[in-house]
Symmetry: C2
Subunit: 208 residues, 2 copies
């Protein structure tokens, strides 16, 4: 039997909805309670599923985490790249990216427990190498993107000469993570405002 609107099979539609529900509920649980401290029972309680219903979709908690990580990346990207890539001035792109990350992602309380990536990185470091490395690779990718924008800006003569672009890009990622740690524990918007202001000041000092 097919859904008359989507043309998709109704059984698989139902499966899709259940799977989405598991991912969304687990994302919030992991972000608030942490990975180790979230039990399968917590996920069952949040999703109203039986063990059989859950394990029909995911083989393990680690499997759920993978799907949750991918979902968190999607949500983050949508928030931070909005109105960024179409800016022609690479320095405005960097400033806009910083503002989006702090105001529209972190400060918008997208995840109940704050920044999913920072929380997971801190919890899983030294405990799960594959999972913490996956998050680190994400941070490296962001840093490399900012670095590419800085390279572009230098090519256009917008930057002071002799700057270390890799180091600057890493420092921006580091500061954004520090803001995530402090904001999550305070939910104080001044953390967001002050970091936008001071990172903005820092970025302006790089300009020629």
């Amino acid at each position: 039997m097919k859904n008359i609107f989507t043309g998709r099979d109704i059984v698989s539609d139902k499966g899709y909805i259940t799977k989405r529900n598991i991912i969304e509920k687990s994302l919030q649980l992991f972000s608030v309670k942490g990975y180790y401290n979230t039990s399968i029972s917590d996920i069952l309680a949040a999703t109203n599923l039986t063990k059989g219903g859950l394990y029909g979709h995911f083989a393990s908690k680690a499997d759920i985490w993978q799907a949750v990580y991918d979902e968190a990346v999607c949500i983050w990207r949508e928030r931070v790249f909005s109105g960024v890539r179409d800016r022609t001035d690479p320095m405005i792109r960097i400033t806009k990216f910083i503002e989006n990350d702090l105001r529209n992602y972190l400060g918008a309380d997208v995840f109940e427990g704050g920044c999913f990536f920072l929380n997971m990185l801190v919890e899983l470091s030294g405990q799960s190498d594959p999972m913490s490395k996956q998050i680190l690779r994400g941070f490296v990718r962001i840093s490399k993107l900012i670095q590419a924008w800085l390279d572009q800006a230098a090519d256009q003569g917008l930057l002071k000469p002799g700057l270390n672009h890799k180091e600057i890009a890493n420092f921006i990622v580091i500061s954004l993570n520090g803001a995530a740690a402090l904001y999550t524990s305070t939910r104080d918007d001044t953390i967001v405002d002050q970091t936008i202001e001071q990172l903005g000041f820092y970025v302006r000092q790089l300009k020629a």
Copy 2:
């Protein structure tokens, strides 16, 4: 019976040593595994104590955490204030404090699991209000100290006019926490070097 060197009672000396051992082992466990994920059994295994032996010194895991927190603060202070307070130039004091924190505390791997305070703040936020607030109060104290140094620097005419000292002090604390998050998961010394370099650049831009 008294210890002939210390003049202290031998029984209480032994109690003191046991208590120190519990604090030191728990500090490493909490820093690596987190608070919730460290069980009383883990602490018993690390200290070679029986339940009775442990509970003779501490009433609960939360009690151990309090002692561990105080110990972590002592260790941190010793590392970061070395050669700082005697500097007459407040801007050199700030730079030295940043370097000490990153190189002699964070980068020196004082705690197996990285920065105890950042790890605990991230884990306990949204889960234990009293404990996460205690750590936040510590960060506020550090920020206020840096702010006082900035105020002094401004009084001496060393800073650009019109700077927001509170915001700058908070941004320094935020960046140090971000470096802690990234360093812990990578143990890559370039995180330490790059943050010293870029926070140094940032601080120099504040000068008149």
